[in-house]
Subunit: 508 residues, 4 copies
């Protein structure tokens, strides 16, 4: 069986839920699929309700307007009403957030500059469904500068930054999204992006697969004109592979989730920082001298382990894969079974992609004040449900921090109720989002411009050359100077001077 891995120690996807969903289509509009593996929410989103640092977010929070945007009549300053946002008057605040984001997204700005001459997306009609954030706005406006027309909905009912949506609407983008949509709103917004008179989309940019799914169900004929799908999430990519396997994928699709730059940044490098950030913001704990067990030594686990070791923690690792296990050994971590250390550790971190890695039995044996959190790709890694029993008392001590109290007084500190720590309790730097957004833009350009026949009705990885190009666009941020091959060297190596520089199986 083909399977997919989420770059975690043991990697996987929530197969049963997915299969149920397709099987039981009557419920699909009532129960939105859980997104997994997403790390790309910016601060503004993830923190808006809990963190008073962000002035923009607090502006939104203070809004007490209870009217549904669908019931409002709004126009932007140019008279257009082809959008649906919370409050068009927040556009100015959103514009400032977008401008700040632009400063940290050098690659997209570079693409815009190059687009002054040619318009690689001229004629493209892109329908998108992603988180609506300042960074997405920079992407959308870049796509516009490259020649594309866009219509956009949100891929998550909570994640829209209202003022950014307003700014996009003000500058002419048909955006349909607000924070706190109902399920019905969610699908309504998507439909408003797809099904408009005089609009025939020819490209799809999706994050989670809901937009793609909607078109499959409602407007399957639309695929005749669609040149390709670009999908970013683990969940959405898995859906595409399923479709492909079932022979139902009728356009080329590009899996940008597995490009090298995205994987290494979103997982290894980003988690190396966010594990520390997430733990500090929630618990103010000192890392030095603490005993930590990290479950799973994939990219996420590697990042967590490296950071905690560097801060003076003593780190143990659990693994099911002997290769990753051997890497953990060589990197200086004791490889143990969870049972062996569960009584002594101060922190338990899951990064496996698996389910029930930390069971009630483990939780019962932890010592007082042990911190438990999840950095993996779904909320199933810690069996939180097992803690919701009458003999245990839950005490919410801070936002995202619960003390679960045993009858004998023992307290376990559970973070984010077992959901992704770095999604819930830390932020993702714009720089990381820049890499993802650039990858998406290049994938759209590639699929849109590819000559007939280059891509068939299958799922593709981003061509290595474009992956390398994304990386090269981010080097100037670090004032990094790449060396060029001489003609003689290129010949010696049998390489084109402009890349690609590695075979496909190269592991980096």
């Amino acid at each position: 069986m083909e399977k997919w891995d989420g770059n975690e120690g043991t990697s996987a996807f929530d197969m049963p839920e997915w299969m149920i969903q397709f099987a039981d289509q009557k419920q699909e509009f009532n129960k939105r699929p859980t997104k997994i593996g997403r790390r790309s929410l910016s601060r503004s989103i993830s923190q808006s309700s809990t963190d008073s640092y962000s002035s923009a977010a607090s502006y939104t929070d203070s809004s007490d307007d209870e009217t549904s945007p669908r019931d409002k009549q709004q126009k932007n300053s140019k008279g257009s009403s082809d959008f649906c946002v919370k409050n068009i008057k927040q556009a100015e605040f959103g514009r400032r957030e977008i401008e700040i984001a632009e400063q940290e997204m050098p690659a997209l700005m570079a693409l815009r500059k190059r687009a002054q001459g040619e318009k690689p997306l001229a004629g493209a009609k892109i329908v998108g469904c992603t988180h609506i954030t300042a960074q997405t706005a920079v992407l959308m406006e870049t796509l516009g500068a490259l020649g594309a027309q866009c219509r956009w909905a949100a891929c998550n009912i909570y994640s829209t930054l209202n003022e950014v949506a307003a700014a996009l609407a003000e500058s002419g983008f048909p955006v349909f999204a607000w924070k706190g949509e109902s399920e019905d709103d969610f699908w309504w917004c998507i439909d408003r992006c797809v099904n408009v008179e005089g609009w025939q989309p020819n490209m799809i940019l999706d994050d989670g697969g809901d937009l793609t799914h909607w078109i499959y169900k409602k407007y399957p004929n639309m695929f005749k004109k669609i040149k390709g799908i670009v999908e970013e999430s683990v969940t959405g990519v898995h859906r595409l592979y399923q479709l492909s396997k079932a022979g139902k994928l009728c356009v080329p699709a590009m899996n940008v989730n597995d490009s090298v730059t995205k994987q290494k940044f979103d997982n290894l490098y980003c988690c190396r920082e966010s594990i520390l950030d997430g733990l500090k913001r929630t618990t103010d704990m000192m890392f030095g001298g603490k005993q930590v067990v990290v479950c799973g030594y994939g990219e996420v686990g590697k990042g967590c382990c490296a950071a905690l070791k560097a801060m003076g923690s003593i780190v143990y690792v659990t693994e099911i894969d002997p290769i990753c296990a051997l890497q953990a050994c060589m990197d200086g971590f004791r490889l143990v079974k969870l049972n062996e250390v569960i009584r002594q550790v101060d922190i338990v971190i899951t990064c496996t992609g698996n389910k029930n890695v930390v069971t009630r039995e483990h939780l019962d044996r932890m010592k007082n004040s042990c911190i438990v959190c999840n950095m993996g790709h779904s909320n199933t890694e810690i069996d939180v449900a097992s803690l919701r029993t009458p003999e245990l008392t839950w005490e919410r001590v801070r936002s995202q921090v619960d003390h679960v109290i045993w009858p004998d007084g023992k307290r376990i500190v559970l973070l984010a109720e077992g959901r992704l720590l770095n999604l819930s309790c830390s932020t993702v730097p714009t720089f990381v989002l820049s890499i993802t957004a650039t990858t998406q833009a290049l994938a759209l350009i590639e699929l849109y411009n590819a000559p007939e026949g280059r891509y068939k009705q299958d799922v593709y990885l981003l061509p290595k050359k474009m992956d390398e190009y994304v990386a090269s666009l981010h080097l100037p941020t670090f004032d990094a100077h790449l060396t060029e091959l001489t003609d003689e060297q290129a010949k010696y190596l049998g390489l084109n001077k402009n890349g690609p520089f590695k075979p496909n199986y190269y592991r980096y």
Copy 2:
């Protein structure tokens, strides 16, 4: 064009030399191809002429017997004379070396234990051509224990450890190898392994492709009975891909050079240690505070950089590949062009697989006492030839250490004349060789037992499951305890509980 990469920053092979060799077959017996990319020589070999620590080696060195082994009449204690080694009387010394090696090759010893029940290589007739070392001896005796018959030659005219060859001959292995063979001896030894009455090999274990090449040229019909080739070296693997591309490969071949365990151990982890060892043994330099430039940020470069940074050096990196370049940035290294730092650095290390990375122009601009060395896979990275000009004086200050002196008195410290530093000036731990040898054994078992049709006339990577198995056999060394999936978890992940655990494109 298909190309191959040697796991270095930019990776390559010596195309011209190779093509010349095939083109000009009349010379092939006079000029042996240069082996590249080999990191697997044990201490005993690489150090025997320079290091008095190894008593075994010094025993050999003190031998003043000038008679060619081909002219000697020798018999082992059982009366057999089907071998050709330097001196069968050295067998006892060699046996001790083999016994010491056995202690650090737990995986092969575990295979032997399992072989007590079944003999997966029963009926296998393996002809081998590798370095003849204590570690190879452990491999050969393991193959024997698994049921195979073997005949063996050396893949390098200098690398044979005579006493080990003697020990193998004494215990009944037809071994044809000694240290200091002539070119004619080299091919004679190979021929003696292949072309013996009553012997029809059905498996090939090669390191560099010479054995395979010989059979292609001399006994092409032999391939009808051969079930497969296992090849370990960069050079040999490249030859096989060339044959495959040209439609001339007539048996399945397994590329064990690119298995995960081999790559990570031979390159990243091993070089992380050997760069320090090689520099210390040759120069006794202090690493703290030194400015170092590492050319190439592949696995080898990553290992070198990590080690030197940890020891307090200030490390700069050069790269041609933007993805590796971005990794260098995120790992905390300034990415520069060599020209930018060449005047200020104390050490220059090449790990590119490229040629002329350090040119005479660079060398002219280095500061006094700058150390220059190569950790990449061939001796072309530093343009050493450009230093052999009349105005420069060479002074050999130690074994493997030359001072090249400019007219103004400036001295450059050139190590190993630009050849591989870790091959020439440090040692490779047996533990690393154990991984390689286990991989070879498992590849032989797989090819020999594969059902008809599983492998065609092509070059294959080791199946991931076997790669994982190699890793698992080495975990006990670290007292590492692997976690097993529960049935429920395996189902959730869509995995077999015994692996493989990752998709093929997983990067580790």
Copy 3:
């Protein structure tokens, strides 16, 4: 001239301000001295106005009671009104905070346990002036358990946690402190601790020297009965050395600021974590690949550099002291003058204790988006005043984060207006405060119980044996097992088996 150092790269104190203050005594009640070198504020204090995580803090914040505590009539449940706090009704909330803190202050709890048998502070009448936090409360209640009577005021007009003060008042401690005292309130509170009928203090616990100063000015005769002063802050210690030098110190004083455990924890280990925390919470920046210059390589600078290097930043160091400079070199940092790198760095961090280390000229030359912050001991390191000129625009983008905008659009990101980053924008783990509080308790015990003549009218460091004792009380937290000397070994080493184990000049 005797001088004092604040454990930073170049360390110092604000001599002029101090001298002015003594010279111009008429103003002293109007202008409170600036406290320097304090790192020991807990989260609850430093974050209370900016961080919504702390439920306790937000409780306080929501209080809209504008009446001055001095004008209120309050009684605790036992009928006592010998205290002055914001609102005695907050006692329950404060008690919960105290209980949480107790869990992380194992050493004080251990002292309480031992005190069940003997009361080393029986008869002690301690007047204290420190930050009023949960951790201080644990200290005060420990002193009480050891037999002491206490009266307490706050050493800072902003730092009192009102609910903790209420909890202390409820349990019978005469506490005079609230958040947001006026200058007049400040001295009134202190006076209420000192000058009460029937109360003659015999021990002083001070943090900053204000309490000591007040007694010197107002009630000099009180010193006849006082057995000693324990002082924690850089400023207060400096004042004591000045008094001693001037021959005016009339009781023994103990400088607990310079004990080993306090120095290493408060500076090296704590800053290693808080630099990352402070930068992340304010800017959400990514550390990987960033170029950072750290001014000063004392304990604080060492901590900052180690953490940022570990997270993949490229770190430069400036120093004035050649020994610290050489350490920076050996630890792998380029030693530069600030001018050499100011144009290229992404972050500037000061840890010098010096003034005007970052000047307007430096600020003018920084690149766009450069982040500037201070981890040293006063707000003078960055010349923030020079930025308050008409041509520059200040934009407050988040709490503690200002964009200073140049006419050409360049933005500098200034954190905490140049005040201590870790005081303003991160938190200090309770574990660190536990060490400080334990040190204070032991110093009080030592001075109170010292036989006549052991301490003269001078400033003393904590005896090494007590420093070692503080450390040993914290080892159980890490499940750390100390080895004991055998009799034979102790004799061999010429040591007492119970310590002290090192000569006074040992540097750790």
Copy 4:
């Protein structure tokens, strides 16, 4: 009791031996005291008999001249015979070694340059007793350039590099030293330096205290003219403190062993590198994944732990001092008792300065192939004597490497028979020796030029300002640029712009 610490975790000296020696003076000439705590032998010395890399050393080794130097008649090219060396004809070889050393001793060369104007040692008559190495030669010739006359003997009967001694004799230095002196030779050489007609030394440079001791015993009146003693070793410094305590020290002495630069370089930074070097050269082991216990967390232990952790080992620490123990915890090491981990570790390293830290009982419980070595300051840390029992077999497998074999076949790998690993099996970079030699030169200058009364008959540490000066002389090697205080800053800090910059108790 006053005690002294050797910068190790628990630090000490061999009291009994020392006391016996003074008590039993009849034996003193027959039995030379063991030197302890010395880390400053250069490669050429320590490796000469075991390592064929050093051409100079091998030249010496091949000498088969059996005549005692005392029986030879030798003259240098200027006709002088006031020396006694192995072979004056080796002078040219020695000169080359000296010239190479000069390149890495920038501070002494800088002192020579400054001496062109003034001669701070004009009139000084220095008698020296140190190891005779290329680095010492650079020191001696520097002292000469500064105006001093010198006579020199060796402080160790094995450590003299004969060709260097010859080179010094050739250039006019009265040197009395050769490799392989008898005990009688040893004292004869010292006497020849002290007791010559027309020579009245006024300065002593000693390493181990033997020279000082000799003068005390034989020529006590000589001290009337002696301005001071500079002593470098732990042993010698201890002797001086004993003399001082007994009221018998009759001239000022300077303890240069405890200067900051020397301590940090010789112990922390040097051991960080030499532990890896020593283990690799002897065992070729792989560090990654190995479990190591380091006994003692002083400077040496800190260096060993940091290096091994960086190379991927899992490191445990034992300590007796709770402060060092707490540091180990915060640095990320599990603090254990040796018994707790002795069965599982792959390597045991002692750095305590204590005796019998590793006992026979521990050795009995180690697992097969466990490596045991000592980095502390004497050979007593491992109870090697306990292994010399009939039931254990010793097998010398390499120079400095013994297998000790238990009856059941278990082998322990004992390095250097428990003597200092880095002295025996690795080398000390010239750069480290440069710091020591510069410190010695400056101490001589200070004592020789100090105004009457600055130093009394006591033992002094090097003034901090000179310690800082030594550091500053080594910064150019790293192209390190020190920042200078402005006048305003110096005033603010209360510091002289030229230092000293720290109080004496500063810990660095």
